[in-house]
Each structure stands twice: as structure tokens, then as C-alpha cells.
């Protein structure tokens, strides 16, 4: 009964209380040395691509930026066939990173690469 589900949303969200396990953005700083690229990328030294992890709520709230399809898929999983998975917690928005690189020929290159840092998560 989707009407009931929607009506119960505030109480449902309160009961879950599992903010820590909810789909959210997590920090994960790495160095380019750890990635094996420090012979090439000389700045920045550290990079925080971040990642998304956690369970998607049974009712997808607005702040998950979930498309309508994800809402339908969660209902399909819950009401029709559990073999269809819950929507997954994945990055939604990214920002670029600027890097300074040394090239094979000794040239030095400044470049901006898109989609290198996760900025928010969604359930899809």
C-alpha cells in the first residue's frame, strides 16, 4: 500500500535511526604513491576520491536524488520479486581534479580531469 508507506514516512525514517549505515559519502584519502602514479603526477600529493557506501532506505527520500526508476525498483523488490535487487548506493555528482604531470619527453603538463571526486550519493 504505497499510500500508507508515504503516510508513514516520517515515522519510518525516525524508526530506522541508522544514519551511519545509510547510503552516504565517505572520505578516503589516498596518495598518488599508493596508486603507483607518483612518478607521473607530482601535484597534488594526496587525493580524496571519496566513495559511497551504505544501505538504500526502503523509501527513497528526496535527498537521495533517486530517479523514479529507483523508486519503482525498490517497490518491485519489496512487493513483487526479491530477486530484483534494491537500488545501489552510488555516486551522484562529481567534481574535477587538477593535476600536474611530468611526461615522458620531460614536458610538464597541467590538466583538469572531470569526475574524479565524488560529491554526493544516490540510490540507483
Amino acid at each position: 500500500d504505497t499510500g500508507t508507506l508515504a503516510h508513514d514516512l516520517p515515522g519510518y525514517l525516525r524508526d530506522q535511526g541508522g544514519e551511519k549505515s545509510d547510503c552516504s559519502l565517505r572520505s578516503f584519502p589516498v596518495s598518488f604513491a599508493q596508486l603507483g602514479w607518483d612518478h607521473w603526477i607530482i601535484a597534488p600529493h594526496r587525493y580524496n576520491p571519496r566513495y559511497c557506501k551504505g544501505a538504500c532506505p526502503h523509501l527513497l527520500r528526496y535527498d537521495y536524488h533517486a530517479p523514479n526508476h529507483a523508486v519503482v525498483q525498490s517497490f518491485v523488490h519489496q512487493l513483487v520479486d526479491a530477486n530484483v535487487p534494491w537500488p545501489s548506493c552510488v555516486p551522484y555528482r562529481y567534481s574535477p581534479i587538477s593535476v600536474l604531470m611530468i611526461e615522458r619527453d620531460g614536458g610538464i603538463l597541467y590538466k583538469e580531469y572531470e569526475n574524479m571526486i565524488a560529491e554526493s550519493c544516490t540510490c540507483r
Binding site: 602514479w37 594526496r46 580524496n48 567534481s95 574535477p96 615522458r104 610538464i108 597541467y110 580531469y113
Partner: protein
């Protein structure tokens, strides 16, 4: 199914610019190390980088370089002592053949030190576009406000007009010792001016100007 596009028109595999660059342009990790930050070109690029991006590499808002790629090209020079008394003259060649097809030139400058303090006196330097059989040499004017002692001379027109189409740009670096000069002054080792290419890389996956994604009402 007639609704399927013919195989030839299927979309290509999306490019992965970072991995492509790693494969094609990165130095091999075996036996190669980027040395410590030294040398004027590297110092200049590190300054440019710090101006354009924060410590985590995020491009700074409002401090955009106006493009997503800046390539520094170092000069090669023929052998032979460039000093003749108080005068230094060095022919420099910048090879441009390494540019990718997706990199479109927006602007090109040559960066050099117009003035250098010595133990005795100072060195005054200028750049000339090397004379060819068709055209005489041209003295390049530096930008009005040199930054951190560096001067930038715009050479975009010379590359756009086809000087660069031959795959190289030839300049003459000329310096003169000024002030009290002793006959025993040792020749100064000068680092060569370097060429900066401001390029727009149109390959998918490179950063476009940062803007907020449009959010639809639901």
C-alpha cells in the same frame, strides 16, 4: 530489427582520458623518478598549479586558467658557447609535434627572466622571433606586468599563422651584461625560456567550467 542502428554508427567506447594519458604519455615507472622540485620550469608550473588548485587538487573557483590544459614545452638548443664577451645569444627551438588531436591551441606565451641579478652587475635579456628567409626577426614584447620576476611574451599569432604548423617555433634568446664588468667574469649558466601552450582539450571526460547541475522539481 530495423530500429537498431547499423553497426558502423554504434557509439564508440567512451574514452578514459586519465587512463589513456597514463598509457601513452606517462613515463615508465621502472627506473624513472620525477626529481625533486627544481629547475625554473618546474617551479613556474608549481606556482601556476598552486594558483589554480587547492591542496587536494580541486580547481579554485574564480581562479580559472581559462582552459583545462596547460602544456610546458622546453627548448632544445644547438651546442656551442652562447657567450661572446658581454653578450649572450642562443637559438632555441620548441618542438610542438607532441600535441594530441583533441588539444586546440587557445594561447601561447614564452616565459623568461628579463632581468637577473649577478654578483657583479646584472643581466638584461630579451627574446626575438628568429629571422627566416621570408621574414626578419621580431623583438617580442613582454606582458605589462611580469609576475615574480617572470615575463611572458605572447607568441600566439606566430603559431596560429603557421609558424607552429611546421612543428616547431624558433626563437633567439639574447642577453647583455650591464653594470661594472670585470674581464674575469665567468659565463653565467642561464636556463632557457620555456613555451607555455594554453590548450582546450575537447576529449570527453575532461573538466568543463564548474557549474551546478540543473535539478528538476519532482
Amino acid at each position: 530489427d530495423q530500429s537498431l542502428p547499423p553497426p558502423g554508427s554504434l557509439p564508440a567506447v567512451p574514452p578514459l582520458p586519465l587512463l589513456q594519458a597514463l598509457q601513452v604519455r606517462a613515463p615508465g615507472s621502472q627506473g624513472w623518478q620525477a626529481g625533486p622540485a627544481s629547475g625554473q620550469p618546474l617551479r613556474y608550473m608549481l606556482n601556476l598549479y598552486r594558483h589554480a588548485a587547492d591542496r587536494e587538487g580541486r580547481p579554485r573557483h574564480g581562479r580559472s586558467l581559462g582552459t583545462n590544459t596547460v602544456r610546458l614545452v622546453q627548448a632544445s638548443s644547438p651546442g656551442g658557447p652562447p657567450w661572446a664577451g658581454r653578450r649572450y645569444v642562443q637559438l632555441l627551438t620548441y618542438r610542438l609535434e607532441g600535441l594530441s588531436e583533441t588539444e586546440h591551441l587557445l594561447r601561447a606565451t614564452v616565459v623568461y627572466l628579463p632581468s637577473l641579478m649577478l654578483a657583479q652587475g646584472r643581466l638584461l635579456c630579451a627574446l626575438e622571433l628568429a629571422a627566416t628567409s621570408e621574414a626578419p626577426g621580431v623583438l617580442l614584447s613582454p606582458a605589462a606586468r611580469p609576475r615574480h620576476g617572470w615575463a611572458e611574451a605572447d607568441v600566439t599569432p606566430y603559431l596560429m599563422q603557421g609558424n607552429g604548423s611546421a612543428g616547431s617555433l624558433a626563437l633567439q634568446h639574447v642577453c647583455v651584461r650591464a653594470g661594472r664588468v670585470g674581464s674575469r667574469d665567468a659565463p653565467v649558466a642561464l636556463s632557457h625560456p620555456f613555451l607555455l601552450l594554453y590548450l582546450n582539450d575537447t576529449q570527453a571526460g575532461l573538466a568543463l567550467p564548474v557549474r551546478e547541475p540543473h535539478r528538476h522539481r519532482r
